[in-house]
């Protein structure tokens, strides 16, 4: 248990630092940035305290907001995906989820990809809608969601594969 707390705290700090030092400065093609800090929410232990997940996701988003001067956009997007996570898990993994037998890093490739992409696109859609705050920019929002989403998805899949190798 304490091992899990330490690992998640460490993941929180490393992801926030990586996001603000590295990924916020990529600016691929001028406006595309990946947001792989969402890995914290994806990899948070399943079946653990939901209130804790909500609260730590809020803190995660707020720390990113503090560094990017973006008010509470990242916090809102992170809290929302943290809240809908159980339903997405349930609809994808079904019975295995109810027996607490799901682990993202060891799940089948297709199911993992589906779960991560739903979470990422939901997160990015909320994030960019709040950023532009104007429904007449819907094309811009969707474009940015798609491009940044694919970028984040690639990075997330890469990181999960890289860092779960050891534990098999």
């Amino acid at each position: 248990m304490s091992n899990s707390i330490i690992r998640n705290t460490l993941r929180f700090i490393v992801l926030v630092l990586a996001q603000i030092t590295l990924f916020n400065n990529i600016e691929f093609l001028g406006y595309i940035n990946p947001y792989p800090y969402i890995l914290f929410i994806l990899l948070f232990p399943i079946g653990d305290n939901r209130a804790l997940l909500l609260f730590s996701s809020f803190l995660l988003g707020l720390s990113i907001d503090m560094f990017t001067n973006s008010g509470g956009m990242h916090a809102a997007a992170s809290v929302t995906v943290a809240y809908i996570r159980p339903w997405i898990l349930q609809s994808i993994f079904g019975i295995a989820y109810e027996y607490n037998a799901v682990k993202i890093s060891t799940a089948a490739y297709g199911e993992r990809l589906l779960f991560i992409s739903i979470m990422i696109f939901a997160h990015h859609l909320i994030l960019f809608s709040l950023e532009s705050f104007n429904f007449s920019d819907i094309i811009y929002i969707l474009k940015k969601t798609l491009f940044s989403g694919v970028f984040t998805l690639t990075l997330c899949m890469l990181f999960i594969t890289l860092f779960s190798f050891r534990r098999k």
């Binding site: 503090m66 809102a76 809290v79």
Partner: protein, 274 residues
């Protein structure tokens, strides 16, 4: 009572979620309006310290460009100094220097340009005499306006921000308009509400107008890239290509207009009397 407690226990996750979402939406909405009290900003000890650490490394990559910019500015100023027609008759009264504008230098430690509302963070704050609403420029042109200030750091609302509205004019004819940014290319901004009688031509220079108390008159902004009359045919909307490369800003000057308070008090009194 029992039922209320039961309800709270049953829906505690939803209530927590609703509370946190509400909080973050409040922060978001505040960030979309100009100069509201904002709790979450990068002018603080923690983020300032981290940005300084990052900047200590990344500053080397841009060192060459920044040096060239400084050299170019120095040579321009020297040229002005040496080419002053008659140095005797144009006696420079040094005692009057700095009475109207006070200039402070600062280092940019964080800069974004890919969002809809962009901010910069400066490594100089209240202790260095920086206050809210001061103008920020480089040797080439304007950068933005100081937004939030902490003892050691300050955030600057970039001209690449949807809340930014700066008074600007054509250098040639003094017709003025409002400088805004609608997102997209960080090198292009829009100058709107320019009278249709103005002699607009491609390549003309746009400078700051004297109507605001933030920037001195005549600070460079950019050149006209393209222009069109708006549907009512009363105003031009002009695309302006910035002199500054907003994606690479190293050192900036923060300008304080020392008459600002006096002007504002006077204007306020006039308004109150009406």
């Amino acid at each position: 009572m029992q039922q209320i407690v039961n309800f709270l226990i049953k829906y505690r996750n939803f209530l927590l979620f609703a509370f946190l979402l509400f909080l973050s939406l409040v922060f978001t909405i505040q960030s979309h309006s100009y100069h509201r009290s904002k709790f979450v900003n990068s002018a603080n000890f923690l983020s300032g310290g981290i940005f300084t650490a990052i900047d200590n490394v990344s500053t080397y990559f841009d060192l060459k460009t920044h040096n060239e910019q400084l050299l170019a500015e120095n040579s321009r100023l020297r040229q002005q100094l040496l080419n002053t027609r008659d140095s005797v008759s144009q006696k420079i009264d040094t005692s009057s220097f700095g009475t109207k504008f006070k200039i402070t230098t600062a280092k940019v430690i964080n800069n974004n340009y890919s969002h809809k509302d962009n901010f910069l963070t400066l490594k100089a704050g209240r202790d260095a005499g920086i206050k809210q609403d001061l103008g920020v420029i480089t040797s080439k042109g304007i950068v933005g306006i100081v937004d939030k200030v902490s003892p050691g750091y300050a955030t600057v609302m970039s001209i690449l921000n949807s809340n930014s509205q700066i008074n600007a004019k054509l250098k040639k004819s003094n017709h003025f308009g409002i400088l805004v940014w609608k997102g997209g290319d960080p090198n292009l901004v829009d100058l709107i509400d320019v009278q249709s009688k103005a002699p607009v031509k491609q390549g003309d220079t746009i400078v700051t107008g004297g109507k605001s108390t933030i920037f001195p008159e005549g600070i460079g902004i950019g050149t006209i890239e393209q222009f069109a009359l708006d549907p009512t045919e009363n105003f031009y909307s002009i695309k302006v290509k910035l002199f500054n490369d907003m994606t690479n800003v190293g050192h900036v000057y923060v300008i304080e207009n020392l008459d600002r308070k006096e002007i504002q008090t006077l204007e306020q009194e006039t308004r109150d009397e009406q």
